[in-house]
């Protein structure tokens, strides 16, 4: 899960990483914002769970109180990724000539933490990678951990000298990384005019490590999250809404992805990715169908089950339980069942008037057809 900027910066402060002097304004204060006790010019930044706010105009400079009020009024109504900001961050502007980039990522390829630094910050990582000589990556052996070596390499690369404060920042960032089960922590841009200051924050925590951290403190994230993500979290499904009109439910991430791809392949337009996971009960299947039917505007629903641990009869019962709702909403249902108890499952469904298929290609084509 990603933290929003100000949550990431609070984590920075906890670890002694400098950020600009700032204040945070919540949604109910937008109408009558508090007078800032900060020095102008200020940077006014909407807080969103997604990137792209810069292009949307949700970052503004305010040189005086009037501009400050104006900026808040404007940003309050700007949506990024479908959501308006619940919070706006006000920061003193930090004059800086150059922007740098510093991050630590848990590298899949190397199976190690890797420090990434660039002489050119403020732009996307992909762009960085394109500038030869501007990027340095440095592995940290997870069995040995951080040593000054890493910080020295970073400081030399960025500044061509050993800057004590910058080295200290690298050390603190690694501690933050380790102690919070971080998958990615990024300071971009990083300013090093007098001392190193994090002008933005990007922090991705490991959802799997929820049991050893208090993730409820990052509630802002869930409140700002899209409806789809909220639903997925609430029910424990893997659920990603898409733009189309054909709902897709299946068991197993790879299979559901493949099913979504197949709908596309045959010219249809998938409305979602929903993985019910292994061994789903009839209730779980029913709930998955309800979620899709209620939350999305779909024309048809393709259910693709390859049952290993899962039992086809359970799946069938879940579908039958949702029959009424589906009929009411006029959603055509196409079921593909293979695996454990497939005959039993198929007969339950046929008895209830559903069509059941054995080949996913055929089922996908059937789901796309305009007439059932």
């Amino acid at each position: 899960m990603y933290l929003i900027e100000y949550e990431g910066k609070q984590l920075f402060v906890k670890y002694g990483i400098k950020i600009p002097d700032s204040m945070i304004i919540s949604r109910d204060e937008y109408v009558d914002p508090p007078k800032p006790s900060l020095n102008y010019p200020l940077v006014v930044k909407g807080q969103y769970p997604y990137g792209g706010r810069g292009k949307s105009g949700a970052v503004k400079i305010a040189n005086n109180y009037e501009e400050y009020i104006e900026a808040i009024n404007s940003i309050a109504h700007i949506s990024v990724g479908g959501v308006k900001p619940r919070y706006i961050l006000i920061e003193e502007f930090v004059p800086h000539e150059k922007e740098y980039y510093l991050s630590i990522i848990m590298s899949r390829k190397d199976k190690k933490p890797v420090i990434l630094v660039s002489k050119y910050g403020g732009i996307d990582v992909e762009e960085l990678a394109g500038k030869p000589g501007s990027l340095m990556s440095l592995e940290i052996d997870p069995l040995i951990g951080y040593s000054d070596y890493h910080a020295k390499m970073v400081s030399k690369f960025l500044l061509n000298r050993l800057d004590k404060e910058l080295m200290d920042m690298v050390r603190r960032l690694y501690r933050l990384f380790i102690e919070n089960d971080v998958l990615l922590v990024e300071i971009n841009p990083l300013s090093i005019n007098e001392s190193p200051i994090a002008l933005d924050s990007k922090v991705m925590l490991d959802d799997n490590a929820y049991y050893r951290h208090d993730y409820t403190q990052y509630i802002e994230y869930s409140m700002l999250a899209s409806k789809g993500e909220q639903i997925a979290r609430k029910h424990g499904f893997s659920f990603v809404p898409l733009d189309g009109d054909i709902g897709v439910i299946g068991n197993g991430a790879g299979l559901v992805m493949a099913t979504v791809d197949l709908v596309n392949y045959y010219g249809g337009s998938p409305a979602c990715f929903l993985d019910v996971g292994g061994g789903a009960s009839s209730e779980r299947i029913q709930r998955a169908i309800e979620v899709i039917a209620n939350e999305l505007n779909i024309r048809s629903l393709l259910i693709n089950i390859f049952a290993g641990i899962t039992r086809c009869d359970e799946v069938a019962r879940g579908i039958v339980q949702a029959k009424k709702l589906l009929e009411e909403m006029g959603i055509k249902v196409v079921v593909r069942l293979v695996g454990t108890n497939e005959d039993l499952g198929a007969s339950i469904l046929r008895d209830a008037g559903f069509k059941v298929y054995k080949e996913m290609d055929v089922a996908a084509m059937e789901a796309i057809k305009n007439e059932g």
Binding site: M106, A253, F306
Partner: protein
């Protein structure tokens, strides 16, 4: 036909099940036994002395190894205990260690995978369905009946999709030398290249099916490997997630396109450059196989 694969599976498999008394562990112990897997011991702390499906249960791996000479392990314990379970297996030099468990924090996986490398232990997974040697044995949770012995190795990051494709292979007469899931997690112990490098010299393997998905660059690196080492066997690949939007985790912890990296398009293009045949539908894998065998 030799029924070991040097570097991947020992000559005489003597499997130990960690978390054998749990619901999943117990169920799949039965399934594996029925399929012919030589399970010699189980471990659940505090449950030592009991039996599950005739398999003796121990408190510690050390005891289990001493009494049963187990040489490899499959792990079913809950995510928060998986690190310690894997470390216990590593210290006892069991290899491979197949980690079925889903949801292990990446920092734990990184530490245990690096520790395993230090002790020369192979880790498969986490978040893998395991592997099956059709008609010999399986170390994992794959449903047996969709597999049959043959000459095609199937290597995958997924579970049910692997069963799907394997079934369609068997239906059209293609059996499998081995079917192995590398795991759907962000960090995994053994990746595509590791497996293909091992299979390179396996005489029984005539072709390889790779089932990839979005996220990371394992497929891209595999393509480079195939190209630069003139891989001697035909490879067919299917990549799931062509219609996945960036920034969204598609079920698996590892299945996410982020920072412009890990898209299906990038993987497919790389594979094509390397001469790998691409299937665009799961059912097309068999068609592509027919072109090469």
């Amino acid at each position: 036909m030799r029924d070991d694969i040097p570097g991947l599976l020992p000559k005489n498999l003597r499997l130990l099940v960690q978390g054998i008394t749990g619901k999943e562990g117990s169920f799949h112990t039965k399934m594996m036994l029925d399929y012919g897997t030589n399970i010699v011991a189980g471990v659940t702390p505090g449950k030592g002395g009991s039996y599950i499906h005739g398999v003796p249960v121990y408190d510690t791996i050390a005891e289990a190894v001493e009494e049963s000479e187990a040489n490899s392990s499959i792990i079913f314990v809950p995510a928060r205990f998986a690190y310690d379970a894997a470390m216990e297996a590593i210290y006892n030099r069991l290899s491979p260690i197949v980690i079925i468990t889903e949801g292990i924090p990446a920092h734990d996986t990184v530490k245990l995978v690096n520790a395993a490398a230090k002790y020369n232990v192979r880790v498969i997974g986490p978040n893998t369905p395991g592997l099956i040697f059709p008609n010999k044995y399986k170390i994992g949770i794959l449903p047996d009946r969709y597999f049959d012995e043959g000459a095609v190795a199937v290597v995958s990051r997924s579970g049910t999709l692997t069963y799907e494709i394997s079934m369609s292979m068997v239906n059209r007469g293609f059996g499998q030398r081995i079917v192995i899931g590398c795991g759907g997690d962000y960090i995994i112990g053994t990746n595509f290249i590791d497996i293909l490098e091992i299979l390179r010299r396996d005489l029984e393997t005539k072709a390889i099916v790779v089932i990839g998905e979005i996220g990371g660059d394992d497929e891209e690196r595999l393509a480079d490997y195939i190209m630069h080492t003139n891989y001697p066997k035909p490879v067919v690949a299917y990549v799931a997630g062509r219609s996945a939007p960036p920034g969204k985790r598609m079920g698996h912890a590892g299945a996410i396109i982020s920072g412009g990296m890990g898209s299906a398009e990038s993987k497919i293009n790389k594979f094509k450059e390397a001469g790998v045949r691409i299937a665009y539908r799961p059912s097309e894998v068999v068609e592509k196989l027919m072109e090469v065998i």
